[in-house]
Amino acid sequence: MSNSHLFLKPGFIKVPLQNGVGRYVCQLQRVVLKFCKNHGSSRGMRDFIESDLVNFAMDNPAVVVYLKPRRHRSAVIKAEYLNGDQQWLGCKNFTKEEILKWLNLLVTQSQYHTGTRIRKLWHTDNPSIQGPWTPFTFRDPKLNLASFPNEELAKPQDSNETNHEALIELFKKQKLDDLEQRRAE
C-alpha cells in the first residue's frame, strides 16, 4: 500500500440537502467545455460537441452547458457543483467517448471527490442506539430484593483463595478419587 493517501484530506461520506429523501437533485450545476477550434488536441471535444452534446444537454436539463472556444489551448472541462466545488479536468487528446464518460461521472457525483480520503465506507449521526451507559444499566436484578446491610454482598467480589490453598484442595480431591477407585476394584 502506498503512503500517498496520507496527504489527502480525510472525510466521511456525506449527502447535501438530505438529497434523495424527498427528491433527487442533480448536484452538478454547470459545466464549461473549453476547446480550440483548430488544434489537434481538441479534436475529440469538437467531435463530442458536434455529435453528442445536444443529446447530453437534453438528458440533463438541470446542468447548464457553456462552450468556450479558445485559440491554441488544450481542451478542458470545468465543472461547478451546488456546494461551490469547482473541478477542472484536462481533456487533451481525449476521444469523444472518453469525454462523454467523464461528463457522466461529473453529473452523477455529489461533489469534487478527488483529493479526499474516505475514512469509512459508512457513516452515522447516531452511533448509539441503546443510549448512554449509566452505572445502573446492566445491574443484577437480585439486588432489587436484597436487604442491607448484607454480609454476602459486602464481601470482595474476587475470591480470596491463595495458590497454596488451591493446591491443598486439589490434593484432597485427588485422594478422594483414588479411594473411590480402589473401592470400585
Binding site: P16, G22, V64, G84, P132, T134, F136
Partner: protein, 300 residues
C-alpha cells in the same frame, strides 16, 4: 541598433543557410520565457489572492439558461416572470429603477420579491404545522416550526438548491438572510405558477426532510421540564407526583450519578439520570413527558 543586428542575422542566415540549418530550426523554449514568467509570478504573489467575483460577471454566463436549469433541477415548472421576480430583491430593484431614472429611461414596473417572501413564509409554516400536528402536541409543533424556518436553515437550503449564483441582489457575497428570503419567495412563486399542492410537496421534500435522522425531543427543550410535567398531568387530573431516588452511585465525587424515578399511585411515569438529584429529576420529567406523548400518539 537591435533592428540592425536582427537584419544582419537574417542576412547571414540567408547567405549560409546550410550551416545554420540545425541551430535555427531546433524547437526550444526561448531564454526569455522563464525569467518573464518568474517576474509575473512574483508580481502576482505581491498582489495577494484575487477577490472572489460573482459568477454572473464571468464571460460564460447566460441568465435565461440558468433560470431554466434551476426549475429543471428541482423538477418543477416555474412561470419565468414569477421566478425572476422571486429572485429579485427589493434593494436591487430600487437601484435599477434609480439608475434608469438617472439615464432618463422609464421602467415599466418595479418588480421585487417583497410580497412573495411573506406569502412563501406563510405556506412553509402552514405545511410544517399541518404535518407535525398529526402526531405531536402544539409546543413541539411550534419548536419544530421555529427550528425549520430559522434564517440559517432556509439560507443553507437556498444555497444547496443553487440560489447563490442566480439571486439578483446588491450585496456580494450574498448574505444568508437574502438567501432565506429568496427561498421563501421561490415557494410562493411555485404556488402561483403550479398550484398550492405542488408548493406543499416542495416544502415537504426540501424543508421537512431536514428532520430526517433528528429527534424532535432534541429540538424541543422546555426550560423547566418538571414544571411542564406537573401542568401536563394537572390537565389530566393527576395531581400527586412522587419523585423517588432509585439509585445513587459515587456520591460526593466528581463522577456522581443519581437515578430518579417519578411515580404516581405507585406507577412509574418516567425515569432519569443526572450528576445531581435536581438534574436527575428534570431528566426524569423529560422522560415522563416523552412517554405521555408516545401513549397519546398511539391512542390517536
Amino acid at each position: 541598433m537591435s533592428f540592425c543586428k536582427h537584419s544582419l542575422n537574417l542576412l547571414k542566415s540567408v547567405t549560409s543557410r546550410a550551416s545554420y540549418l540545425n541551430r535555427l530550426e531546433t524547437r526550444q523554449i526561448k531564454r526569455w520565457v522563464a525569467p518573464t514568467l518568474k517576474a509575473l509570478k512574483s508580481r502576482r504573489d505581491k498582489l495577494g489572492p484575487e477577490p472572489e467575483q460573482p459568477r454572473s460577471s464571468f464571460l460564460e454566463w447566460n441568465y435565461d439558461a440558468e433560470l431554466f436549469a434551476f426549475g429543471k433541477r428541482l423538477g418543477e415548472e416555474f412561470d419565468r416572470k414569477l421566478l425572476q421576480q422571486a429572485l429579485t430583491s427589493r434593494e436591487y430593484a430600487n437601484l435599477k429603477e434609480f439608475q434608469a431614472q438617472e439615464k432618463g429611461i422609464e421602467l415599466s414596473e418595479n418588480v421585487h420579491n417583497h410580497e412573495l417572501i411573506q406569502e412563501g413564509e406563510k405556506i412553509i409554516l402552514k405545511t410544517i404545522k399541518e404535518e407535525y400536528k398529526k402526531h405531536h402536541p402544539e409546543d413541539i409543533v411550534n419548536a419544530v416550526c421555529n427550528y425549520l424556518t430559522t434564517e440559517e436553515m432556509l439560507g443553507s437550503l437556498g444555497k444547496d438548491i443553487g440560489l447563490k449564483d442566480i439571486v439578483l441582489t446588491n450585496e456580494f457575497p450574498v448574505e444568508t438572510k437574502t438567501l432565506s428570503n429568496v427561498f421563501k419567495a421561490v415557494v410562493a412563486a411555485l404556488e402561483k405558477s403550479s398550484g398550492l399542492e405542488k408548493a406543499e410537496k416542495f416544502v415537504h421534500d426540501f424543508v421537512i426532510t431536514q428532520m430526517n435522522g433528528k429527534d424532535v425531543y432534541d429540538i424541543w427543550n422546555p426550560s423547566e421540564p418538571y414544571k411542564y410535567l406537573t401542568n401536563l398531568l394537572n390537565e389530566k387530573g393527576i395531581t400527586s407526583i412522587e419523585p423517588r431516588l432509585c439509585n445513587e452511585s459515587a456520591k460526593n465525587t466528581i463522577l456522581a450519578c443519581f437515578q430518579v424515578g417519578l411515580y404516581s399511585n405507585k406507577k412509574l411515569l418516567g425515569i432519569g439520570w443526572g450528576e445531581s438529584v435536581q438534574i436527575a429529576k428534570e431528566t426524569a420529567a423529560l422522560d415522563a413527558i416523552q412517554r405521555i406523548h408516545k401513549t397519546q400518539r398511539k391512542t390517536h
